[in-house]
Structures are given as C-alpha cells and as structure tokens.
Symmetry: C2
Subunit: 576 residues, 2 copies
C-alpha cells in the first residue's frame, strides 16, 4: 500500500503515513482533497499554514500509456484560490517505486533560513545543503544535481524565481532525457516551495522496484486496448506527434481566435513563420526531434527537441500556448526568439503563459515596443536576478499590469488567459470564467467541440451548448488529472465509445478495487466540489467567475464577436 510522506520543513521531522482518509484518491483528487481539508482557506499562501502536495495519479507507476502526470497542489499565491498544477516528467512514475503516493511539504523555516535539497528515500528523508545550486538557473542547477545523483536523477526543482517566491514561478520536473524541462507552471507553485526553503526534491535513484498490479492479467488486456485507442485516433496518433501542440497555431488563427496584440485581434499576420508546420520543418532541418515524450510510457509524443540555428539544444516542451504568447500576442514572428524565451522561462522557473501575457503588459505600459523580441528577451533575463524589474515581471501578468498602470488585463482570478480568444471560442471562455483554477484552458478544453470537432460539434461563436460542454469537460479533466493520465488522451477518449470503460478496467486491475465509469466521473465531480468549496471559503464569489470587462466591450476582429455570458448564466457550468 502506498503512503504519503509528510515533511515538516521547519523542524525537519518527517513521517510516512498510511493513506487513511485519502485512500482511493490520487493526483488532483488527492491534492485538492488534502489542501481543502488541511489548509486554512484564509491563510497567506506563503505562510507556514499552506502545504505543498506533489502526487502521482491512481495509475502512477503502472505501464498504462500516458499515466505519468504529477499533480502539484497548494493554495495559490497567484489566484488566492486552490491550485492543481499538472506536469509531466519522471516524478510520478518514480514515486510508487519509493512506496509513495504523494509528498507533502508543511510548515516553513524562519525567514532567511538556508535552502535545502531533499533526498527522498524509501524510509528516510535527507536534508542536504543546497548552496551548490541556490541562485542557479534550472538547467545548470540540474547539471550539478546530476553530477552527484546520476544522469537519471528524478527531480522537482525551483529556479531563482521560486527562490524569490514570485507568483509566476514554476516547479520544474526532470524529463526522460534528464532535463528540468517540464513545468508545473500555473499558479505560482514554485513560490510555495520557495517559501518552504526547498530548492530541490530528489527521488532516490536506487529505488527501481516495479510496482505490482493487483490483477496483472486483467491489467495487461486493458492496457493493450488503451494503447490501441491512443494510437488510432488521428489527433493523438498523427497531429500531435508530428506538429506538437503547435499544430494549433494555424488552426486557431484560421478560426480567428488567435489572440493578437494583447487580445485585440483574432488573426496574426506573421502566423506562417510561427506555425507548427514551420516548427517541425525547422526541427527537421536542424537535427532536433519532432516526436518526443515528456515521460516514460507516453505514446502520443507531442513534445520535441528544438535546436538553435547551430544545431545545439535550445528547448523542449515548446507548446502552442508559449508560441502564441511570445508570438502573436506580442507581435513577434521569430520562432527562434520565441524558443529562447521558452527556455529562459524554464531556466528562471516561471510560467510561459503568465510571462507571455506579462510581456504584453510591459508593451502596453510602454516599457518595451510591441513586437520587439530582443527587448522582451532582455526583460526575461532579469527574472530571478536582483533587479527589481525582474521581481515585477516574475510576479506575473496582473502584477505587471498594476506596476505599469495597464487597465486591459487578460486574467481571470488573477491568472493570465491562454491562447484562445474567448469571444470566438466561447466554450473555452466558459472554462476560463468558471474553473476553480483561474484562467486555464486545460481545465475544460472546449476547443475540442468548438474547433476540432472532437467529442461533438458545438459552434464556437454561439452561446448554445457551451455551458454544458465546459461543465462536462471540467468534470472529465478533473478525473483524468486524478488518474495521472495526460489530458491529451481526452481527444481519443471523447471519440471512442469503450475508452472510459477501458480506463475503469485499468484502474480496477491496478488497484484491486472495483471501478466503473461512474466512479471515474464521480471522482471528477468530487474533486471539483472540493476545489469550489475551498475557493468559496477563501472568499471567491460569482463576481470572480467572469472575464474582464474589455471582452464584453470590445469586438474581436475578424468576426467582431464579443463575450456575452453573464456571471449568473455561467454558474451552471459549475458542479452543484
């Protein structure tokens, strides 16, 4: 039976606990239940009362395809609400090999206490000095860790932005290539880790035991069908593996929903230079990889290795949202510059969506000219340094806007909006407005039904059907995140009648407990209920479930759409 490891970062006590009231949960279901149960909703997110939870999903450690996602939970310094930040990398599959379902960081040391590295073993935790990596960017810091713990060291680490407790800061997880490239990006989880003075968590490289399945034969059958499902749907078997998520650049631009110049227009003149097709051609020409998995066991392979002009590694996990944000949204059409900005965010440890919208705020505020990617790069280089401007930038979109007096701020619950204009893709707008996470596309990706016509066909620009589709996706996503599955399995699941029962079969075979499709749906519903209850206790109301006024007041070219849902209408998208 897996356990929860609780570590008191002040007293340095730790204990390996039975699951108790958390039995049967995993991933986001676990992080959100634990945070909503144990963290006072009124606490300051950087105070000792907050807890940082890292959990594998229910299928973590199994050989189920795409089951290696990690959920990171806490009260968010960015939104002030509950947060689950979902991330790839090797962490989730390694945890069960240590007998662990989750790690919880509790309390906090005195101000100014030295940072530590935590080495997690099967029955102990070592507090190691971190002066060898403090202040370092993530890649060089991870190189130091690898020099001690081996090339395959599995880590979760904060960059200098997290050390400074900046609200856009990430926790970077190591990928199969031993790079700290996978970001638990949203909501400032790195700041929570930084407040507890933990620079890095290292999972004992010696722990290699296989994780037993309760019913190995049944699991094998279900697992095989699961792979078939993922490898036969065109999105998960062709689109994503070939072009990555950047396949969306052209698609969303064509739809007229690619937010351009801080959500002023829906199409970008420079789109051809930053499209997924261009990215893949560029990668091929430079000897990179256009198919790449973020964790062992991934069959979708939407990641990539993007090299610079000289063929040297530049970045990976180069997502559509990043390309949009540092591209169309700030009028930049230089893919290499965008890739460098992606890398710089991973180095300092800050969320690309926050930072990209933040660059738009800096441009709105007159700090640097629109479209000036070199100037934006210089700004990003300041994040995590002693420069006060770096502190402003690293605190994210809303903060930057406040610093520079900008009144056109694309955030919901203070979290920056991603790459789909909600006026033209209204289903995702419903998600932005109503998910407990704050502005977040992944929480209910209605782009499926609105644009890709996966899992149904709900016209993108109308209001009809959007509430229902967002609500159902929010439930499904919460379940997927709890299982530890990659969200992208949803493309195949939505179009495959037996997919959910296959997932239920895998869960039952892995855990030895009965599991139905209803159980999985209920897991999603209950997780959302936990999250909404926390946010309500933290003071969120219907007024927080709305987009900024400018989406209502300004029509978006080319379709001249406006946002026309009232907050009252939107309430129906929340589980009751």
């Amino acid at each position: 039976m897996l356990k929860i490891l609780r570590i008191n970062t002040r007293t340095r006590e730790y204990r390996f606990e039975e699951l108790g009231q958390y039995a049967g949960l995993g991933g986001r279901a676990l992080t959100s239940r634990l945070v909503s149960t144990e963290v006072p909703a009124s606490c300051h997110p950087l105070s000792a009362a907050n807890k940082l939870v890292m959990a594998g999903g229910i299928l973590a450690g199994s050989s189920a395809a795409n089951s290696g996602r990690t959920s990171v939970g806490a009260k968010s310094p960015l939104t002030g609400g509950i947060k689950e930040s979902n991330v790839g990398g090797q962490f989730a599959h390694k945890l069960p090999r240590l007998g662990l379902l989750a790690i919880v960081l509790e309390d906090k040391p005195e101000a100014g206490a030295p940072f530590v590295k935590l080495l997690i073993k099967k029955d102990s935790v070592e507090f190691l000095p971190a002066e060898d990596i403090v202040g370092k960017f993530n890649y060089p810091a991870h190189d130091v860790v690898k020099s001690v713990f081996g090339e395959k060291a599995v880590t979760a680490m904060i960059g200098p932005a997290g050390e400074q407790c900046l609200m856009a800061s990430t926790i970077q997880f190591s990928d199969p290539d031993g790079r700290p490239s996978r970001s638990a990006g949203r909501g400032g989880m790195g700041a929570v880790m930084g407040s507890k003075r933990v620079k890095a968590i290292i999972l004992d490289p010696e722990a290699k035991d296989a994780v037993p399945m309760a019913d190995p034969e049944k699991f094998k059958v279900a697992r095989k069908r699961w792979v078939d499902i993922l490898t036969s749907h065109p999105v998960t078997s062709q689109g994503l593996p070939t072009y990555g998520t950047a396949i969306l650049v052209n698609i969303i631009n064509e739809v007229g929903a690619l937010p351009t110049k801080n959500f002023r227009e829906g199409r970008f003149a420079g789109v051809a230079k930053i499209s997924g097709e261009t990215m893949t051609e560029t990668i091929k020409a430079r000897g990179g990889q256009y198919k790449h998995g973020c964790h062992t066991g991934c069959v979708i392979q939407c990641s990539q290795v993007y090299n610079d002009k000289d063929g040297n590694y530049l970045t990976t996990g180069f997502e559509y949202e990043t390309i949009w944000g540092f591209g169309a949204n700030i009028l930049v059409d230089d893919l290499d510059d965008i890739a460098l900005m992606d890398r710089l965010c991973d180095e300092a440890g800050v969320d690309t969506i926050e930072m990209a919208n933040g660059m738009a705020m800096a441009m709105e505020g007159g700090l640097v000219p629109w479209g000036d990617s070199k100037a934006a790069i210089e700004l990003l280089r300041k994040v995590g340094t002693a420069d006060p401007l770096g502190r402003i930038l690293g605190n994210g979109t809303s903060f930057i806007a406040q610093a520079f007096g900008v009144d056109r701020v694309p955030v919901v619950k203070k979290q920056a909006l991603p790459a789909y204009d909600p006026r033209t893709v209204k289903g995702v707008g419903v998600t932005y407005a109503t998910t407990p996470m704050g502005g977040d596309h992944t929480a209910g990706y209605a782009v499926c039904q609105n644009v890709l016509k996966v899992g149904g066909d709900v016209p993108a620009m109308g209001k009809a059907g959007q509430i229902e589709v967002s609500k159902n996706l929010q439930i499904a996503t919460a379940a997927v995140d709890s299982l530890g599955l990659c969200l992208f399995v949803a493309f195949a699941v939505l179009d495959t009648p037996d997919a959910l029962s296959v997932v239920a079969d895998m869960v039952a075979a892995a855990t030895g407990k009965p599991c139905t499709v209803d159980d999985i749906v209920n897991m999603g519903v209950n997780t959302l209920k936990d999250e909404l209850a926390f946010n309500k206790a933290a003071g969120f109301t219907i007024k927080d479930d709305q987009l900024p006024d400018f989406f209502k007041n300004e029509a978006l070219p080319p379709h001249n759409t406006t946002w026309d849902f009232t907050a009252e209408e939107l309430q129906a998208a929340k589980v009751g």
Copy 2:
C-alpha cells in the same frame, strides 16, 4: 444652486449640470452615491469607465468652523472597492465660489496622451499643457503653478507616483499657506487621476464671491454655538492644537497598542524621541508652528509647521499615523528622518500609511535593515522615478509584500492598517475589518471610546460593545464626511449633548431646507449602504471583512492579546 461640473478627459467636452438626482447630497454622500450609481463595479479602476469625483461637503463655502474638507471618490485601484478619500486644504471652500458642488473627471485619453492642467472657471474649463510640471515632485510643481496663477492658487495635483498610476498615490491639495501638503491619501486616488492624464486641477483664483446662506441670521447663531462647542472641549481646544495628532504617540504606546516592528509588539522602546511632546518642543526650538490649520475656518489647528535642524521648512500635516509608521513600526526613533519621509511622500504623492507599512514589508523582505531610516529614505526617493523599485514601492504595502515574498501583511481589503493594533484596541479593529474603505481608522474611530474615553467607555481589550461602537461611529463618520466637516469635530460632538442639533441647524440655515439630527444620521446610513452595495457588486464578501490570520495566531505583547472576532460576528457592524 450649485452644480456638478463633468469633464470628459478624452473628448475634452465638459458641462455644468444641475444636481438632479444628487440634490441634497454633499461630500462623501455625493461621491459614494455618484460612484455607486455611475461606475460599473466590475470595471478596471484605471479604465475609462471609472470616474473621479471631488466634492465639497454640504457646508462647504460657509463660515461654519472646520467645514472645508473635500471628499475624493472613485473605484479604488488599491482595494478594488469604492473609496472616499477625505482631505483638507482650500479646495472645498473654493468650489462653491465657482458655483460648484463637485467636479467629475470622466473617460480617459489614449495611452500616452500628454498630461494636462485643468483650469476651472465659473463657466468654462481650459485644458492647458502640463509639460512645465510633468514629472516634477509636488512642491516644485506647485511652485510653477503659483508662478502663473498666484500664491493663493487653489489646486489638486498628482505627483510622479500618480502620473505612473501607482496604487499608493495621492492627490495633493493646496493648504492656506500655498503648499501642496494635504493628501487625499488613501486608496490610490492619484492613480485614477493619472489614468485620466490630468496632472493638476486649478480653481480660478478670480472666483471670490461669498457663498450666500439661505437664512443668514439663523446660520450666524448656530455657527457661533458650533465654535463654542469646538473651542471648549479639551481634545479639540488643548490636546490637538498643542501636540497635533502626535499627542497619541505616548498615549497609544502606554496602552500597549503602538504597533512596533510590523505589528509584533505594542510598545516601542524609542517612543520618547518621537512623541507629540517631543515634536512640539522641537518645533518651538526651531521656530516652526505647532498650531496650524489645514484649511481656512479651522479652529482646532492640529497641523503644524515642522522645520529642520537649520530652521528651514520641512513638512506640515505631520500626523500621528505617519510618525508611528515611519517610526515605531520600522524601529526608527529619529523624528527628523520621519519628517523627511513624510515630506518625500508628499513630494512623490504617495500615502504615508501605505508607504510606512510598505517600508516594513521591505524590511521583512530583507531589502533594507530594520530601523535603518537612511536606507528607508533612499528607498522613498525612488518612488516616482524610472527605477522599477520605485514602482514596486509606490504600489503600496500589499504589492511590496508580494514582490518580496512577505507573508505577514497588515492589510484589510489590500489597504494597509494604521497605527492602532487591533488586538489591543478592538473597536478600531472592528472598523478596519468592516468599513467599506478597507483598513482605515478614520472610518470609525473607536479609539475614542476604547482609549480616550470620549463619547463613552468601552474597554479596549474586551469584545463587549465593540461592534456597536464601531457601527455607530461608521455612521457618524459618513455623515461628518458628507457635511464636509473635519472628523476631529467628533471629539467635541460626542461629549456635547446639543452638538448634533447645532449641526442640523447650520445645515438647515445654509441650505434653506429642513434638517434634523435624524436626517444627518440617515445621511450616514445611506452613504454606507451605497458603499456596501458597490463593494458587493464588485465581489466583496464576508471573507473580505476580516483581519489577516496573524492577528489571530500571534499574541501581542505586552498584554498578549489576540484578535478574536469571527467574520460572522463582525457583520453586525455593517448597516443592514
């Protein structure tokens, strides 16, 4: 009949409007009614939809003692709620001489539009270029204005902090000596003015007509009794005129409620060096003035002229809260340094309470050492400059705390708390928590009953009676602010049985409309209702009516008191 002047800062159109639905209102009653009626609660405070209202009280322009306060209203960039920032100076008494009850700045120019000076005349508004004063500190900018418009020019002006739309920015109003020393300090009203690209408002020096009273004889009688009341109460006739509000330094320290080192203790070892008594002795020795009025017609004279060691003017309006904030709260006991910090705040145009708590945040965050006044001065000098650190600081306490990862942040509704620890003076804690203004002592100054034993005796450290006393004071204060009276008249009013009926008589005689004590109370109640309705529409809930957790979790020496009101209990302090 007085009018409202509406100025569109984008189109440069203006109109002098009849009062219409706003007839019978003045001061805070008017600003809060207008803002709650005309400003969308969901708007961004720096957007075109916000409006900045400057209004004299109902008794403005009359010869009633202490009736020259101005109310400045808008949606606050700092709190996100409604704001009335109350200020002395010559503005309110000058407005009626131009036939005006209020000025409303509407809309906003394009980003980067040049700042203007608005010259307000009886029947016209001139948009004058402001390049001669843009970027200047308030004192030198005001000198330029005086060189054109005369020594007695009556102005409302923003400093460089307001130009940058920083959330702690003030609007500085000119005093009887022609200095821009009076701050509409709280809630970032300067940022709203800055967003509308208005650097200064200048009231036509030629407008000198007396303001007629409807019943001059009746007014004369009531006015005389009013002066008698104010000049016979010991607080308004002796304490405040001799020591200013700084008389409280020793008193509150003795009570054990002088917040020291960011609200960690209730007494300050260096108190003798920063007391009101010391201040007055220092002023006398250097040829300053220890009795001074902030506006013509003041009989209390709690202000002063504080000179530096060489006998040169340093500052005025040197309040207890400022001395506390830059003194005990950051462990500074050098009164000259505190006075310089006060002056620097007036120069850049930022609120001393926000900045003083902000300096505590900078010290918590390790930016400068505790007690290092020279370092704090250097920080303050950055506010309003191009230095990004200045932008962080000028955005106030909550923002600075976020920038530097500080989790012990003394704010309510994001507004910094003043100089009375709420654990030991619980009545004022109730006010901090429940006033629609955010953390604010003036909104319901229960220090009267808790400490000074004016208007009753409610033990400071108990819970009994605090809710009721705060509620009644909140109502009374809203009425006082609507009449345009100085809040300090309350000391005398609370202890004088006929005082309120004398005030009602003055109103009736001035306006020619019947006015009873009940009418005055209702004015307070209705104003609070308007404000609470706006805040509710803006998303505020019961969760916002509470002090930060650390007041509940940390006992305050020397009495080891904690804050023990639940948010539910506190609701009774709000008008129903």
